[in-house]
């Protein structure tokens, strides 16, 4: 396998009190080359924390991440990240943003520009290369961020609720775009979301997480045609799996929401 999450736990110190908050508890997960794995769970289940640990932004409290068998200790360009709030550099044009990872690899300027324009064409942003991020819409920003993350040729694309801040229509369109782009780029993807539909639409495998502490509750294989398109959503298998996940997760998620609410009330 390409990426192995090996009994990873994460504790955060509690503010102003003794003890720790156990956010992740002994997570085990294997991701194969070329696979699109979705981490699905309610907010607060630690799925973004897990992604940050895999990226190398923070160390686990216990356990380790192996990338091609080598432990991950810091971020590097083999695992690039697409963030929910885009995190584009506002002082660079769209093209310069996409070129960033290429410049870091020492690609010379002309080649950099050529590659960046190719990636912008892939995410259908041709003609917007000279715009600044504040001049384009949220959906376009996220397309630019995806192009930027693909440009340095990573092994794995880590996507942290990338469509969470977008409106419903843009979100659906970008899911289809992502399916197309990922298939074209033949990339391993780890995608975090709390939307069941999004998970079923995109995933080869869905890893369902539960919270307090975050653990893996179950792993579902998605048997849908590999290239997902708008039609995928109306396939019986799509509808059935979405319904099945809803039915099995709803009571538990509702209970968790209520515990979380009670916890907040209790704390204040």
């Amino acid at each position: 396998m390409q990426l192995k999450v090996d009994r990873v736990s994460k504790d955060f110190p509690l503010r102003g009190r003794a003890g720790v908050l156990n956010v992740l508890h002994e997570i085990d997960l294997d991701i194969e080359q070329g696979e699109l794995v979705v981490l699905l769970g309610p907010s607060g289940c630690g799925k973004s924390t897990l992604l940050n640990i895999i990226a190398g932004f923070m160390p686990p409290s216990a356990g380790r991440i192996l990338h091609d068998g080598i432990p991950v200790s810091k971020p590097d360009r083999r695992r690039t990240v697409v963030f929910q709030d885009y995190a584009l550099f506002p002082w660079m044009t769209v093209q310069r943003n996409v070129e960033f990872g290429l410049k870091a690899r020492g690609v010379e300027a002309a080649e950099r520009a050529r590659l960046a324009l190719d990636f912008l064409a892939l995410v259908k942003l041709t003609g917007f290369e000279d715009r600044y991020p504040y001049e384009i819409s949220g959906g376009m920003k996220q397309r630019a961020a995806i192009a930027r993350a693909l440009a340095p040729d990573p092994d794995i694309l880590l996507m942290d609720e990338p469509f969470g801040a977008l409106d419903a229509q843009t979100r659906v369109l970008l899911q289809e775009e992502l399916a197309r782009v990922v298939a074209a780029a033949k990339r391993t993807v780890l995608f975090v979301t709390h939307s069941i539909e999004e998970a079923v639409f995109l995933a080869d495998r869905i890893v369902v997480m539960s919270s307090h502490p975050g653990r893996v509750r179950g792993i579902y294989g998605v048997r849908l045609p590999r290239l997902r398109t708008a039609e995928t959503r109306s396939l019986p298998d799509f509808v059935a799996l979405t319904q099945q996940l809803w039915d099995s997760l709803k009571p538990q998620w509702r209970a968790e929401e209520e515990t979380a609410a009670a916890r907040v009330t209790h704390m204040s």
Partner: protein, 287 residues
Amino acid sequence: MRPLIQSGVCPLQKKQGIPSPIFAIPRALPAAWRASGRALRNILGFAVFLIAWEILASAGLINAVLLPAPSTLIAAAGDLMLNGTLLRHVGASIERVLVGFALAAVVGLTLGVILGWFRILSDFIKPLVEALRPIPPIAWTPLAILWFGVGNAPSYFLVFIGAVFPVFVSTYSAVRNIERTQINAALCLGATPRMLIWDVLIPGALPVIFPGLRIALGVGWMCVVAAELIAAQSGLGYMIQQSRLLLQTQYVVTGMAVIGLIGFAMNAVMTAVERSLVPWQESSKPT
């Protein structure tokens, strides 16, 4: 009873060109008018102040020796311009403020970036900086003269002392408050330390650094005058001091007015540079 909605401008009225009530009038003014109107009001405020001063002076309500009238000042400025004194002093002061400011910018930016980034190092140095910061630049004057004698060097030094802290403080807090996700984004894209500094930290901090540079130049300009009052043989401060000794208040006040005007101009230039260097800040403005 009339429904509330009728009190506003209804779209139908607009479309048919029916003149709408009071509220529509300011909106109908073109932007250019409003802008030039503002400039006019700015100048008018100035003019009223000067005219009132002139009237009070010619009515004998203001002692002409203690505070000469604007007309006397304009004549005095004319004299100083003609014999070249004013330009010589202005040149000397500006040169000093630019040298001191440049030194302060280099040191303040470097220190701000380093201490903003390396938290452990900042634990050692930040308290020291914070303890030096409240000392007014003018309190450094005796030391400046002892260390550097009389000439340009003490003025450079005092401008530096005045300007370095605003640059440092703004750079430091700018670097410290850069969004973590942007740094993470840069790191996962493989940014080298060099790229992290030049392509992420510095441009990311620029919108906060720039106001600091602008304030620093203003403080530096005040410091150069203070330094020249005591420790120089030229410059606007020196000119004011010499004129005071000769009781030529018209030259004292002329000097002060020139200091004010140049400070005003410097601020305007810095604001313009800021607008052109930080275009992406447009995003924070309402559209």
